[in-house]
Protein backbone atom coordinates (compact mmCIF):
# COMPACT_ATOMS: atom_id res chain seq x y z
CA UNK A 1 0.00 0.00 0.00
CA UNK A 2 2.78 2.43 0.71
CA UNK A 3 6.01 2.88 -1.10
CA UNK A 4 8.68 4.31 1.09
CA UNK A 5 11.42 6.16 -0.63
CA UNK A 6 13.97 8.48 0.81
CA UNK A 7 17.39 9.88 0.25
CA UNK A 8 20.18 10.34 2.65
CA UNK A 9 21.61 13.25 0.76
CA UNK A 10 18.71 15.57 1.44
CA UNK A 11 17.70 13.87 4.66
CA UNK A 12 14.20 13.13 3.51
CA UNK A 13 12.05 10.06 3.93
CA UNK A 14 9.32 9.97 1.37
CA UNK A 15 6.17 7.92 1.38
CA UNK A 16 4.84 8.07 -2.12
CA UNK A 17 1.63 6.59 -3.39
CA UNK A 18 0.22 6.53 0.07
CA UNK A 19 -3.30 7.75 0.15
CA UNK A 20 -5.53 9.30 2.71
CA UNK A 21 -9.25 8.85 2.68
CA UNK A 22 -11.66 10.87 4.68
CA UNK A 23 -13.61 9.01 7.26
CA UNK A 24 -16.35 8.04 7.14
CA UNK A 25 -16.53 8.23 3.38
CA UNK A 26 -14.24 5.32 3.28
CA UNK A 27 -12.78 4.77 -0.12
CA UNK A 28 -9.03 4.94 -0.26
CA UNK A 29 -7.88 6.32 -3.54
CA UNK A 30 -4.32 5.53 -4.32
CA UNK A 31 -2.30 8.34 -5.70
CA UNK A 32 -0.15 6.73 -8.36
CA UNK A 33 3.42 7.67 -8.92
CA UNK A 34 6.01 9.16 -6.71
CA UNK A 35 6.44 12.67 -5.53
CA UNK A 36 8.45 14.54 -8.08
CA UNK A 37 11.59 16.54 -7.67
CA UNK A 38 13.09 14.58 -4.80
CA UNK A 39 15.81 12.01 -4.80
CA UNK A 40 14.58 8.71 -3.36
CA UNK A 41 16.04 5.75 -1.66
CA UNK A 42 15.02 2.33 -2.87
CA UNK A 43 12.04 1.37 -0.65
CA UNK A 44 13.44 -2.07 -0.06
CA UNK A 45 16.47 -0.48 1.56
CA UNK A 46 14.55 1.67 4.02
CA UNK A 47 14.53 0.15 7.51
CA UNK A 48 11.16 -1.49 8.31
CA UNK A 49 10.94 0.58 11.47
CA UNK A 50 10.76 3.69 9.30
CA UNK A 51 7.99 2.19 7.23
CA UNK A 52 6.04 1.18 10.32
CA UNK A 53 6.34 4.64 11.78
CA UNK A 54 5.33 6.23 8.48
CA UNK A 55 2.25 4.00 8.35
CA UNK A 56 1.39 5.11 11.85
CA UNK A 57 1.75 8.78 10.87
CA UNK A 58 -0.43 8.14 7.84
CA UNK A 59 -3.07 6.52 10.03
CA UNK A 60 -2.99 9.40 12.51
CA UNK A 61 -3.28 12.02 9.79
CA UNK A 62 -6.20 10.11 8.31
CA UNK A 63 -7.89 9.90 11.68
CA UNK A 64 -7.38 13.56 12.47
CA UNK A 65 -8.65 14.66 9.07
CA UNK A 66 -11.73 12.53 9.51
CA UNK A 67 -12.44 13.66 13.07
CA UNK A 68 -15.84 15.03 13.96
CA UNK A 69 -14.81 18.44 15.18
CA UNK A 70 -15.02 21.99 13.92
CA UNK A 71 -11.75 22.46 12.05
CA UNK A 72 -11.77 19.03 10.39
CA UNK A 73 -15.42 19.44 9.44
CA UNK A 74 -14.66 22.81 7.89
CA UNK A 75 -11.71 21.45 5.92
CA UNK A 76 -13.74 18.53 4.61
CA UNK A 77 -16.50 20.90 3.60
CA UNK A 78 -13.97 22.97 1.69
CA UNK A 79 -12.70 19.85 -0.07
CA UNK A 80 -16.16 18.69 -1.03
CA UNK A 81 -17.11 22.09 -2.31
CA UNK A 82 -13.96 22.80 -4.30
CA UNK A 83 -12.48 19.43 -5.33
CA UNK A 84 -12.21 19.10 -9.09
CA UNK A 85 -13.04 22.71 -9.74
CA UNK A 86 -10.83 25.34 -11.24
CA UNK A 87 -8.84 26.96 -8.48
CA UNK A 88 -9.69 24.05 -6.19
CA UNK A 89 -7.29 21.81 -4.30
CA UNK A 90 -5.08 19.36 -6.16
CA UNK A 91 -6.08 15.68 -6.18
CA UNK A 92 -3.04 14.86 -4.08
CA UNK A 93 -0.68 16.72 -1.88
CA UNK A 94 2.82 16.02 -0.65
CA UNK A 95 3.02 16.86 3.03
CA UNK A 96 6.39 17.16 4.71
CA UNK A 97 6.24 16.48 8.43
CA UNK A 98 8.79 17.02 11.16
CA UNK A 99 8.26 14.88 14.24
CA UNK A 100 9.51 15.55 17.73
CA UNK A 101 11.06 12.80 19.86
CA UNK A 102 7.93 12.70 21.99
CA UNK A 103 5.77 11.87 18.98
CA UNK A 104 4.21 15.28 18.52
CA UNK A 105 4.23 16.89 15.09
CA UNK A 106 6.55 19.85 15.20
CA UNK A 107 5.49 21.31 11.86
CA UNK A 108 4.26 20.44 8.42
CA UNK A 109 4.62 22.02 5.02
CA UNK A 110 2.72 21.40 1.81
CA UNK A 111 1.92 23.04 -1.47
CA UNK A 112 -0.48 25.92 -1.68
CA UNK A 113 -4.19 25.10 -1.64
CA UNK A 114 -5.17 28.49 -3.07
CA UNK A 115 -7.25 29.08 0.01
CA UNK A 116 -5.52 30.53 3.04
CA UNK A 117 -8.20 29.40 5.46
CA UNK A 118 -8.12 25.81 4.18
CA UNK A 119 -4.34 25.79 4.41
CA UNK A 120 -4.46 27.01 7.97
CA UNK A 121 -7.08 24.39 8.82
CA UNK A 122 -5.03 21.58 7.31
CA UNK A 123 -1.96 22.75 9.18
CA UNK A 124 -3.93 22.84 12.41
CA UNK A 125 -5.32 19.35 11.80
CA UNK A 126 -1.96 17.77 11.02
CA UNK A 127 -0.12 19.27 13.98
CA UNK A 128 -2.77 18.82 16.62
CA UNK A 129 -1.96 15.48 18.16
CA UNK A 130 0.57 12.90 19.12
CA UNK A 131 1.48 10.07 16.78
CA UNK A 132 1.67 7.73 19.77
CA UNK A 133 5.22 6.57 19.28
CA UNK A 134 8.59 8.23 19.10
CA UNK A 135 10.09 8.38 15.64
CA UNK A 136 13.05 6.03 15.18
CA UNK A 137 16.01 8.15 16.28
CA UNK A 138 17.93 7.45 13.10
CA UNK A 139 15.00 8.10 10.79
CA UNK A 140 15.60 10.80 8.24
CA UNK A 141 13.34 13.80 8.48
CA UNK A 142 11.21 15.34 7.23
CA UNK A 143 8.79 12.55 6.58
CA UNK A 144 7.11 13.06 3.23
CA UNK A 145 3.60 11.78 2.76
CA UNK A 146 1.62 11.93 -0.41
CA UNK A 147 -1.96 12.48 0.59
CA UNK A 148 -4.73 11.75 -1.84
CA UNK A 149 -7.41 14.34 -1.28
CA UNK A 150 -10.37 12.51 -2.64
CA UNK A 151 -13.44 13.06 -0.54
CA UNK A 152 -16.72 11.56 -1.62
CA UNK A 153 -19.74 13.71 -1.48
Amino acid sequence: MIVAKSVTRIRSFVIAACALAFCPWGAVATAPGAAQGLDYRDPSKAPPSWGQFAKLVQYRFETWMGAEEEVANRFRSYMIEHAGKEGGPPPSLVVRAWLNPDGTVERVSFGALKDAKAEADLRTILTRGNIGEAPPPEMLQPLNLRLSLNPKK
Binding site: M1, C23, G26, P47, P48, S49, Q52, F53, K55, L56, Y59, G103, G132, E133, A134, P136, P137, E138
Partner: protein, 245 residues
Amino acid sequence: MLRFLILLGAAALASVEPATAQLWMPVRAPERTAPQSLARPPEPAAIRREKSGTAFFVDDSGHMLTARHAADDCARIIVAKEGRFVPARVVALSPNFDLALIKVPKTLGLAAVFPRNTTATVNDMMFAAAYDTLPGMMTRGGVVANATVASGRGGSEAGYLALDSTVTFGASGSPVLNSRGLVEGVISRRTTISRVLAVGAGETKAFLSGNGIRFEEDDRPQMAGGGSRANRAASISARVTCLQS
Protein backbone atom coordinates in the same frame (compact mmCIF):
# COMPACT_ATOMS: atom_id res chain seq x y z
CA MET B 1 7.75 1.44 36.74
CA LEU B 2 8.84 -0.73 39.65
CA ARG B 3 5.89 0.47 41.61
CA PHE B 4 3.61 -0.41 38.75
CA LEU B 5 4.98 -3.91 38.49
CA ILE B 6 4.66 -4.39 42.20
CA LEU B 7 1.06 -3.31 42.03
CA LEU B 8 0.41 -5.71 39.19
CA GLY B 9 2.07 -8.46 41.14
CA ALA B 10 -0.13 -7.74 44.08
CA ALA B 11 -3.16 -7.89 41.86
CA ALA B 12 -2.07 -11.24 40.53
CA LEU B 13 -1.46 -12.56 44.01
CA ALA B 14 -4.87 -11.49 45.06
CA SER B 15 -6.54 -13.19 42.15
CA VAL B 16 -5.35 -16.76 42.20
CA GLU B 17 -6.93 -19.86 43.61
CA PRO B 18 -5.47 -21.79 46.54
CA ALA B 19 -2.53 -24.04 45.75
CA THR B 20 -3.07 -27.60 44.66
CA ALA B 21 0.38 -28.73 43.54
CA GLN B 22 3.97 -27.60 43.24
CA LEU B 23 5.79 -26.70 40.07
CA TRP B 24 9.42 -26.25 39.16
CA MET B 25 10.25 -22.62 39.48
CA PRO B 26 13.59 -20.87 39.80
CA VAL B 27 13.08 -18.61 42.79
CA ARG B 28 10.38 -19.88 45.03
CA ALA B 29 8.15 -22.87 44.89
CA PRO B 30 5.09 -21.66 43.08
CA GLU B 31 1.82 -23.34 43.44
CA ARG B 32 -0.21 -24.79 40.65
CA THR B 33 -3.62 -23.36 40.24
CA ALA B 34 -6.41 -24.21 37.97
CA PRO B 35 -5.92 -22.50 34.61
CA GLN B 36 -7.46 -19.11 34.99
CA SER B 37 -8.97 -17.06 32.23
CA LEU B 38 -7.42 -13.64 31.86
CA ALA B 39 -10.59 -12.14 30.48
CA ARG B 40 -12.39 -9.96 32.97
CA PRO B 41 -14.89 -12.10 34.80
CA PRO B 42 -18.51 -11.56 33.90
CA GLU B 43 -20.31 -8.98 35.96
CA PRO B 44 -23.28 -10.07 38.03
CA ALA B 45 -26.10 -10.87 35.69
CA ALA B 46 -28.31 -8.07 36.92
CA ILE B 47 -28.54 -6.26 33.60
CA ARG B 48 -26.04 -7.71 31.19
CA ARG B 49 -22.99 -9.91 31.40
CA GLU B 50 -19.81 -8.80 29.77
CA LYS B 51 -16.15 -9.76 29.64
CA SER B 52 -13.26 -7.73 28.34
CA GLY B 53 -9.97 -8.61 26.77
CA THR B 54 -7.49 -7.18 24.32
CA ALA B 55 -7.34 -7.58 20.56
CA PHE B 56 -4.84 -6.40 17.99
CA PHE B 57 -4.90 -5.62 14.29
CA VAL B 58 -3.34 -8.11 11.91
CA ASP B 59 -3.98 -6.31 8.62
CA ASP B 60 -5.11 -2.96 7.29
CA SER B 61 -8.69 -4.02 6.64
CA GLY B 62 -9.84 -4.36 10.24
CA HIS B 63 -9.12 -7.99 11.10
CA MET B 64 -8.06 -8.47 14.70
CA LEU B 65 -6.82 -11.35 16.80
CA THR B 66 -7.90 -11.99 20.34
CA ALA B 67 -8.32 -14.91 22.69
CA ARG B 68 -11.14 -17.29 21.81
CA HIS B 69 -12.51 -17.24 25.33
CA ALA B 70 -12.76 -13.44 25.12
CA ALA B 71 -14.88 -13.52 21.97
CA ASP B 72 -17.03 -16.63 22.03
CA ASP B 73 -20.67 -16.80 23.13
CA CYS B 74 -21.12 -13.08 22.62
CA ALA B 75 -24.36 -11.42 21.68
CA ARG B 76 -22.33 -8.38 20.63
CA ILE B 77 -18.67 -7.52 20.47
CA ILE B 78 -17.46 -3.97 20.86
CA VAL B 79 -13.93 -2.82 20.08
CA ALA B 80 -12.83 0.36 21.85
CA LYS B 81 -9.75 2.38 21.05
CA GLU B 82 -8.83 5.95 21.84
CA GLY B 83 -12.36 7.04 22.57
CA ARG B 84 -13.97 5.29 19.62
CA PHE B 85 -16.31 2.33 19.91
CA VAL B 86 -17.09 0.13 16.93
CA PRO B 87 -18.95 -3.17 16.59
CA ALA B 88 -17.01 -6.27 15.64
CA ARG B 89 -18.05 -9.66 14.34
CA VAL B 90 -16.46 -13.03 14.83
CA VAL B 91 -14.82 -14.34 11.66
CA ALA B 92 -13.37 -17.56 13.04
CA LEU B 93 -12.69 -19.39 16.28
CA SER B 94 -9.72 -21.72 16.46
CA PRO B 95 -10.70 -25.29 17.28
CA ASN B 96 -7.27 -26.07 18.66
CA PHE B 97 -5.99 -22.93 20.32
CA ASP B 98 -7.31 -20.04 22.33
CA LEU B 99 -7.57 -17.77 19.31
CA ALA B 100 -10.37 -15.82 17.69
CA LEU B 101 -10.36 -13.75 14.54
CA ILE B 102 -12.73 -10.80 14.65
CA LYS B 103 -13.32 -7.92 12.28
CA VAL B 104 -14.25 -4.29 12.62
CA PRO B 105 -15.45 -2.27 9.60
CA LYS B 106 -12.26 -0.25 9.34
CA THR B 107 -8.88 -0.49 10.98
CA LEU B 108 -8.25 1.66 14.02
CA GLY B 109 -4.54 1.15 14.27
CA LEU B 110 -1.29 -0.20 12.97
CA ALA B 111 -1.14 -3.82 11.80
CA ALA B 112 1.04 -6.18 13.81
CA VAL B 113 4.04 -7.86 12.21
CA PHE B 114 4.91 -11.49 12.95
CA PRO B 115 8.35 -13.08 12.86
CA ARG B 116 9.10 -15.25 9.84
CA ASN B 117 11.12 -17.53 12.06
CA THR B 118 10.08 -18.00 15.66
CA THR B 119 13.16 -17.64 17.78
CA ALA B 120 11.84 -17.00 21.27
CA THR B 121 14.05 -18.72 23.80
CA VAL B 122 14.07 -19.00 27.56
CA ASN B 123 14.78 -15.71 29.35
CA ASP B 124 14.05 -13.57 26.30
CA MET B 125 12.50 -10.29 27.41
CA MET B 126 8.97 -9.76 26.13
CA PHE B 127 6.20 -7.26 26.54
CA ALA B 128 2.53 -8.01 27.05
CA ALA B 129 -0.20 -6.03 28.76
CA ALA B 130 -3.91 -5.44 28.77
CA TYR B 131 -4.88 -2.58 26.48
CA ASP B 132 -6.42 -0.65 29.35
CA THR B 133 -3.13 -0.60 31.23
CA LEU B 134 -1.10 0.82 28.34
CA PRO B 135 -1.93 4.53 28.75
CA GLY B 136 -0.59 4.45 32.28
CA MET B 137 2.62 2.82 31.12
CA MET B 138 3.08 5.40 28.38
CA THR B 139 2.47 8.26 30.77
CA ARG B 140 5.31 6.96 32.88
CA GLY B 141 7.62 7.10 29.89
CA GLY B 142 6.93 3.73 28.33
CA VAL B 143 7.94 0.18 29.07
CA VAL B 144 10.44 -1.87 27.13
CA ALA B 145 9.74 -5.29 28.65
CA ASN B 146 7.68 -6.74 31.47
CA ALA B 147 7.83 -10.49 30.91
CA THR B 148 10.34 -13.21 30.19
CA VAL B 149 10.05 -16.43 28.26
CA ALA B 150 9.92 -19.25 30.76
CA SER B 151 11.03 -22.81 30.53
CA GLY B 152 8.38 -25.09 29.10
CA ARG B 153 8.66 -27.23 32.20
CA GLY B 154 5.84 -27.09 34.66
CA GLY B 155 2.84 -25.70 32.95
CA SER B 156 3.44 -25.19 29.27
CA GLU B 157 1.51 -26.92 26.51
CA ALA B 158 2.31 -27.76 22.94
CA GLY B 159 1.84 -24.75 20.77
CA TYR B 160 1.94 -22.34 23.67
CA LEU B 161 4.67 -20.00 24.83
CA ALA B 162 5.16 -19.93 28.61
CA LEU B 163 5.88 -16.52 30.10
CA ASP B 164 6.75 -15.25 33.52
CA SER B 165 4.45 -12.28 33.56
CA THR B 166 2.27 -10.25 35.85
CA VAL B 167 -0.45 -9.55 33.32
CA THR B 168 -3.88 -9.82 34.85
CA PHE B 169 -7.52 -9.38 33.94
CA GLY B 170 -8.14 -7.84 30.55
CA ALA B 171 -4.90 -9.15 29.05
CA SER B 172 -6.45 -12.10 27.21
CA GLY B 173 -5.69 -11.68 23.54
CA SER B 174 -2.83 -9.25 24.09
CA PRO B 175 0.08 -9.47 21.68
CA VAL B 176 3.40 -10.64 23.09
CA LEU B 177 6.03 -8.37 21.59
CA ASN B 178 9.70 -9.22 21.33
CA SER B 179 12.58 -6.77 21.26
CA ARG B 180 12.07 -6.16 17.54
CA GLY B 181 8.41 -5.31 17.96
CA LEU B 182 7.32 -8.61 16.40
CA VAL B 183 4.40 -10.63 17.78
CA GLU B 184 5.69 -13.82 19.36
CA GLY B 185 2.39 -14.92 20.84
CA VAL B 186 -1.13 -14.11 21.96
CA ILE B 187 -1.90 -14.11 25.70
CA SER B 188 -4.27 -16.91 26.65
CA ARG B 189 -4.44 -17.67 30.36
CA ARG B 190 -2.64 -17.80 33.67
CA THR B 191 -1.53 -21.17 35.00
CA THR B 192 0.32 -20.16 38.18
CA ILE B 193 0.92 -17.03 40.18
CA SER B 194 3.65 -15.89 37.86
CA ARG B 195 3.14 -17.94 34.75
CA VAL B 196 1.03 -17.13 31.73
CA LEU B 197 0.53 -19.08 28.54
CA ALA B 198 0.41 -17.44 25.14
CA VAL B 199 -0.44 -19.11 21.87
CA GLY B 200 2.81 -19.29 19.93
CA ALA B 201 3.55 -17.31 16.80
CA GLY B 202 3.65 -20.41 14.61
CA GLU B 203 0.19 -21.55 15.64
CA THR B 204 -1.13 -18.01 15.39
CA LYS B 205 0.19 -17.55 11.86
CA ALA B 206 -1.24 -20.91 10.83
CA PHE B 207 -4.64 -19.84 12.15
CA LEU B 208 -4.49 -16.60 10.20
CA SER B 209 -3.32 -18.29 7.03
CA GLY B 210 -6.06 -20.88 7.36
CA ASN B 211 -8.59 -18.09 7.38
CA GLY B 212 -7.15 -16.32 4.37
CA ILE B 213 -5.63 -13.40 6.25
CA ARG B 214 -2.63 -11.79 4.63
CA PHE B 215 -0.51 -10.67 7.52
CA GLU B 216 2.94 -9.14 7.59
CA GLU B 217 6.01 -11.20 8.39
CA ASP B 218 9.51 -9.92 8.88
CA ASP B 219 12.48 -10.77 11.02
CA ARG B 220 13.92 -7.28 10.93
CA PRO B 221 13.22 -4.80 13.74
CA GLN B 222 9.90 -3.02 13.34
CA MET B 223 10.72 -0.38 15.92
CA ALA B 224 13.79 1.42 17.12
CA GLY B 225 16.00 -0.45 19.52
CA GLY B 226 15.11 0.51 23.06
CA GLY B 227 11.82 2.00 21.97
CA SER B 228 8.82 1.57 24.22
CA ARG B 229 7.02 -1.62 23.38
CA ALA B 230 4.10 -0.35 25.44
CA ASN B 231 3.64 2.37 22.81
CA ARG B 232 3.82 -0.12 19.95
CA ALA B 233 1.33 -2.35 21.75
CA ALA B 234 -0.99 0.64 22.07
CA SER B 235 -0.61 1.38 18.36
CA ILE B 236 -1.72 -2.09 17.31
CA SER B 237 -4.22 -3.11 19.97
CA ALA B 238 -7.60 -2.19 21.42
CA ARG B 239 -10.02 -3.29 24.12
CA VAL B 240 -12.53 -5.92 23.09
CA THR B 241 -15.71 -6.29 25.09
CA CYS B 242 -18.03 -9.26 24.74
CA LEU B 243 -21.62 -8.54 25.71
CA GLN B 244 -23.55 -11.61 26.71
CA SER B 245 -27.29 -11.71 26.95
